[in-house]
Amino acid sequence: MIEGAIWRRWVFFYIPLALFLIFLLFPFYWMLITTFRPDGELYRPWRAANYTPFWTWNPTLDHIKYLFRETMFATWLWNTMFIATASTIISLICGVLAGYALARLNFPFAGSLGTGIFITYLVPQTLLFIPLSEIIRNYKLGDTPWSLILTYPTFLIPFCTWLMMGYFKAVPKELEECARIDGASRWQAMLYIIIPVAIPGILSAGIFAFTLSWNEFIYALVFLSSPEQKTVPVGVVSELIRGDVFFWGPLMAGALLGSIPVAIAYSFFVEHYVSGLTGSVKG
């Protein structure tokens, strides 16, 4: 693929790729190094002679200890995990069923319903958070995990439905017809024949939905108020900044530890994630 002399290979390939990698990954390295850096080194102005940005010889676990002892970080992690898992499961169930109906059944308004779901896919959360916060309050859901478990599916279901439609359309009609001739009902054919074939799609939709709900911020910020109900992003923002004072060590430790679960989930399903990402775009 790469043609020409070795210097061309370096100039047009290795160096640009390395620069991209540094640009994209440096903030994570910075998070990591800050987490283990003692406060004395952390708050050393960049003009100081002994400013050593890229390494520390005195690694410390103080920031992580602070996070678990002085804040409710463990609770936030648990909350985020619970909310992300529950809303992912709800969205997958809804998305798979709706995707099946829209892709494989003939009924009036199928086309316009599909378009409608696609349009809700494009509604950003920031458009609706104020009226939604009122509704959440009226339903007495405010400051409970359910306020998020029920609202996250609004941006997850359209995406799951859209992705699953693509997978279901690819399954040949004959497969279902065979099962029906053998005596299966429509429901059984869907449950035992079509859905198992679409498992890769379900995994893609699931991992994608999980990362999206782990990432969500504005609903969690507006709907939750007490520290023990918060998710990681909201907890880190509201409890580790006091007025103008940023607790950078614990903040970075929180950012790092709050990213790890989602990074692990992602690393197990990279291929599914990528196919979910690209599938959601191509539709």
């Binding site: 990698l21 994209l24 494009l122 950003p124 009226p131 009122e134 009902s185 429901w187 880190v236 989602v262």
Partner: protein, 311 residues
């Protein structure tokens, strides 16, 4: 079942009675399967949208049920200098970041489309900015941009690019530049991976044939790769433009809209009005003001995508 089996012949049992008749009708089954989705989307998208419209024509504040005031909120926005800045900021932010995300994302996709060692590994790592919760990674950037402890200043100083400190988030233009950089950083992986998937659907035969005919690499890109990639590019842009236009997290963490409202976007201004000061109806009006613009963007892009796909 047991009763049915004992009173009729085996052949007649299996076929009709195993099925629950109403669900054999495609229409009934379809509505049943769509029901949970319709309920959730109706309750938490359609209904809030209506409530938002109603809210924006009242003068509701937190704890004070409002009265109908017509279009007063929108009239106030039309003469609100901060709102003017918000509209300009949002358009500029969206425009600049989209251009750079497309350019850099395409470049990265072309690099990744070659075969080299650790390709799968590289691709997995490159997506990290897109996976990691934006608020958390934006804090890392805020820390890197910190005026006193900035590692970026240190790097620029060491390489001789600057002589004095740069107060990244303290100056309006620099703060805008900072949030633009963070948004580009977060969005490039999405563009790169999606465009890479598009590139992989283009048959290498086409490029080889053109190469045999004497086309230079640049010509091959411009006359073969780019036109074939255009449909995917347009869809990726559609998603990115909407997300960027409605962005909240990066600005909220980096600047909170400041300094002096220089980086306020629709979402952060709506948040400040609606949640910060409790002027619910004005906040709702600001975020609803996004809707016509978003709708216009979606319609234009969908029409364009259709035209590209027909061609």
């Amino acid at each position: 079942m047991a009763v049915a089996a004992s009173t009729s012949t085996p052949q007649r049992v299996i076929v009709p009675k195993a099925k629950w008749r109403p669900l054999e009708n495609e229409r009934n089954l379809a509505w049943l399967l769509l029901l949970p989705t319709m309920v959730l989307l109706g309750l938490f998208i359609a209904y809030p949208f209506m409530r938002g419209l109603l809210l924006s024509v009242t003068d509701t504040r937190v704890g004070v049920p409002g009265e109908f005031v017509g279009l007063d909120n929108f009239r106030r926005l039309a003469s609100d200098p901060i709102f003017h800045a918000v509209v300009w900021n949002t358009c500029w932010y969206t425009f600049v970041t989209t251009i750079f995300k497309l350019g850099l994302g395409l470049w990265l996709a072309l690099l990744l489309n070659r075969s080299f060692r650790f390709k799968a590994f590289t691709r997995a790592f490159i997506l990290l900015p897109f996976i990691i919760p934006t608020v958390l990674s934006t804090f890392a950037w805020k820390w890197m941009f910190d005026p006193t402890f900035s590692v970026l200043n240190w790097m620029l100083y060491q390489t001789g690019l600057i002589r004095g400190a740069i107060n990244w988030l303290g100056d309006g233009d620099l703060a805008m530049l900072s949030i633009i950089i963070v948004n580009i950083w977060r969005g490039v992986p999405f563009f790169a991976i999606s465009l890479l998937a598009g590139l992989q659907t283009i048959s290498p035969d086409l490029n080889e044939a053109a190469a045999i005919d004497g086309a230079r690499p640049w010509q091959r890109f411009w006359y073969i790769t780019w036109p074939l990639l255009l449909p995917v590019t347009m869809v990726v842009m559609l998603f990115s433009v909407i997300q960027t236009f409605a962005d909240f997290q990066i600005v909220y963490v980096m600047t909170g809209g400041g300094p002096a409202n220089a980086t306020h976007l629709f979402a952060t201004y709506a948040y400040q009005l609606g949640v910060g000061t409790g002027l619910l109806s004005q906040g709702a009006a600001v975020s609803l003001a996004m809707f016509p613009i978003l709708l216009l963007i979606v319609i234009i892009q969908l029409l364009y995508i259709r035209r590209v796909e027909v061609r």
